[in-house]
């Protein structure tokens, strides 16, 4: 199209450069997050690289937000189909790789790049921001915390969107300058096609309030630049109508290919998820255990929990978030890890758990509400139990929220009932640990209680429909 004699509007390099930097950062963060995720496919717990510097391990204790994000149902797609699902960061890896390559192209092509390239960068460059915005909203409203790696991806997406906006501005400027050149030059040299195209351009310009329309290649009027009547002005090339769909297709391919490879490399998990034991003798003739049966319950479950155990709290929240808890007809086995009542421990792991467990037993039909209350106030209850007032303070907190239980909590019957609950764990040869979930008597492996939860539950209870 261009020739040495022709001139073109200079295209600033910063949008493409910014897009390259943003894509590079996004790629690094997404890859770091994905690799952290893949480490966990061996069903073990590993350290996370939760940092604003991609791939660098964060300070001890600061990975909680990243772990919460990873264990949430929003961290991956198709979780019930594949163990752990396909991490959402994986399509981001491909997408950022595509945008990085596209930015390199724009940097090299500069003004020779068709206008559609800049328009595409604007349009497609907004998609990572849209996804990031959604994930940001989820982090804010559902998780209540932000992981540093996620924030890195959000920031990269925002930078990429800024680069896309910059590219659009450049495109509009190029169009305006082309139109201005066309209008202001008295002796227009029309290269091809002749004046008709220019007339069309002017009409279109009026419609578009001064902005040159996207023109079909080959129909662009050639005008001379105002400053140099001798050098013919070459308007920016628009590019064919198939360019944007083609690039979108390429973006889709880049986003999907890593996921396909990921899935193809995944090991088979079906034999592992059912190999963690079962209840040997679940009968409860003395009716010591509690039962929680929501209206939509359709799957028998037995859950062994300690009301003051942080892992139980997280597990409960996960079941609720995944829409699973309301589908469970739950037999609740209170197993306080506190040697005040539990002879299987030589020291209290969760002081105060015994009195809270007794209160829940006394709560009867309010048991679930009380259990959830104890989860919500776990830190305060444990702190109270460890404080100077000890169990008396825990009792006071229970009394303030759930009045009228004092006599029941202190009764011999409640003590014996709790002992029978503990003895039930002996008759079933359970491990001294919480939480434990059994579906139709088959134990959900501890290793499957986080990112593999949906997959494992689908295998253990096929009829249990997920309703996210």
């Amino acid at each position: 199209m261009s020739s040495p004699q022709m001139t073109q509007t200079k295209v600033p390099f910063w949008p493409a450069a910014l897009a390259l930097v943003a894509s590079g950062l996004g790629l690094a963060f997404a890859l770091s997050s994905t690799i952290d995720y893949t480490h966990h496919l061996d069903r073990q717990v590993h350290d996370l690289h939760c940092s604003f510097i991609p791939g660098v391990a964060g300070e001890a204790g600061q990975e909680a937000a990243c772990r919460a994000a990873m264990y949430s149902p929003y961290s991956a797609l198709f979780k019930d189909r594949y163990w752990g699902g396909i991490p959402v960061s994986l399509p981001a890896v491909g997408a950022f790789a595509f945008f990085a390559a596209f930015a390199i192209y724009l940097l090299l092509a500069r003004e020779r790049a068709p206008r559609r390239a800049h328009q595409f960068l604007f349009l497609a460059g907004l998609t990572p921001l849209a996804v990031s915005g959604l994930m940001f909203f989820i982090s804010l409203t559902k998780l209540g915390q932000f992981c540093k790696t996620c924030v890195g991806i959000y920031s990269s997406s925002a930078l990429l969107a800024v680069a896309g906006i910059g590219a659009l501005l450049v495109d509009r400027k190029r169009a305006r300058e082309a139109l201005a050149a066309f209008r202001s030059t008295p002796g227009k040299t029309v290269f091809s096609p002749p004046a008709a195209a220019a007339v069309e351009l002017e009409k279109a310009e009026k419609k578009a309030e001064g902005v040159a329309p996207t023109l079909v290649e080959g129909e662009v009027p050639a005008v001379e630049p105002p400053g140099d009547p001798d050098a013919p002005f070459t308007p920016p090339r628009t590019g064919g109508p198939g360019l944007i769909p083609a690039w979108l297709f390429a973006l889709a391919v880049f986003s999907v290919v890593p996921a396909l490879l990921y899935v193809s490399a995944m090991p088979a998990y079906s034999t592992y998820v059912t190999g963690c034991g079962k209840l040997e003798n679940p009968a409860d003739p003395t009716k010591a255990l509690l039962h929680v049966t929501p209206p939509g319950a359709k799957q028998q479950a037995t859950m062994v929990v300690d009301p003051l155990c942080p892992t139980c709290k997280a597990f409960h929240q996960r079941l609720v978030t995944e829409g699973l808890f309301d589908q469970l007809d739950t037999t609740l086995v209170l197993f306080p890890l506190d040697n005040e009542c539990n002879w299987m421990l030589d020291r209290p792991l969760h002081p105060g758990a015994c009195v809270v467990a007794k209160a829940i037993l006394c709560g009867d039909h309010r048991a679930l509400s009380m259990l959830e209350w104890s989860y919500e106030n776990q830190d305060d209850l444990v702190a109270a139990a460890k404080g100077s007032e000890g169990i008396a303070k825990v009792r006071s907190m229970i009394r303030d929220k759930w009045s009228g239980l004092d006599t029941c909590i202190d009764s011999k019957e409640t003590k014996q009932r709790l002992e029978r609950v503990l003895r039930w764990t002996i008759q079933n040869q359970l491990t001294v640990s919480t939480p434990q979930l059994f579906l139709d008597g088959v134990r959900l492996c501890e290793e499957d209680s986080d990112i593999g939860l949906s997959y494992s539950i689908t295998r253990l209870a096929p009829n249990l429909a997920r309703s996210r």
Binding site: D42, F98, A100, A265, T286, M344, L422, I426, Q429
Partner: protein, 232 residues
């Protein structure tokens, strides 16, 4: 422009390939670790079990085990309880050593006292049985060691001791059978008659059902009861 496009395509393919191969390799490696179990060794987690108190010495557990296994408690044997001869044979232990085994249970258990020549429980004894039974905690077995004083013949006392042990068992069954269907698997009976392991007057200082009428002879017209916090 074509060169720029080619460079862009090449860069894109290179980035995609590098990323995908990295992720693919990590997934494969995780799969290999899963398959071979090449992961951190998991800490051993205890299995829920009965309580194991400090007094569960090997000697005590030997007596306990022999009573449980040889005298009909475990395995649904129709025979129930051990006679003095059994204990002598099984435990191979002197009277004092035998009694000493139960000293750590002073606070946990109680001594139920009977009238001379009688096997009927009085109200105080019944209340103690109920209290002790409900204070199970993590114990697996409830022991009843019945005795008879030396008044009367050996056969008479042996029978009387047996009846006293049964009185305790029957009362427990009457009161708690509905709440605890496994009583038969939990209560171990031992009747000692008058020829073995008689108690001294110092045992009147234990938790006895008749503290005001306790003497050297009376303390042996009794049944010692206690949950035993030992694993077997």
């Amino acid at each position: 422009m074509r060169a720029a496009a080619l460079v862009g395509i090449a860069a894109g393919c290179a980035l995609l390939a590098a990323s995908a191969i990295t992720v693919h390799g990590q997934v494969r490696a995780a799969g290999e670790r899963l398959k071979t179990g090449a992961t951190l060794e998991k800490p051993k987690v205890a299995v829920a079990n009965d309580a194991e108190a400090a007094y569960c010495t090997p000697a005590f557990k030997e007596v306990l085990a022999r009573v449980i296994h040889a005298c009909g408690l475990v395995g649904g044997d129709s025979r129930r309880g051990c006679q003095p001869a059994d204990v002598k044979t099984l435990a191979s232990i002197s009277d004092d050593d035998f009694n000493a085994l139960f000293h750590p249970l002073k606070g946990r258990g109680a001594v139920l006292m009977f009238d001379d020549g009688q096997d009927k429980l009085d109200d105080a004894a019944k209340k103690i049985i109920e209290d002790r039974w409900l204070d199970r905690r993590g114990a697996r077995y409830f022991f009843v060691v019945a005795r008879a004083s030396k008044t009367g013949g050996a056969d008479f006392n042996r029978t009387l001791s047996h009846k006293r042990a049964n009185s305790v068992l029957f009362h427990i069954s009457d009161k708690f059978k509905d709440a605890d269907p496994d009583i038969d698997k939990e209560v171990g009976l031992l009747w000692l008659g008058s020829e073995f392991a008689q108690l001294g007057k110092e045992y009147c200082e234990w938790n006895v059902s008749r503290p005001n009428n306790c003497a050297a002879e009376a303390i042996n017209r009794s049944a010692f009861i206690s949950w035993v916090d030992c694993q077997l």
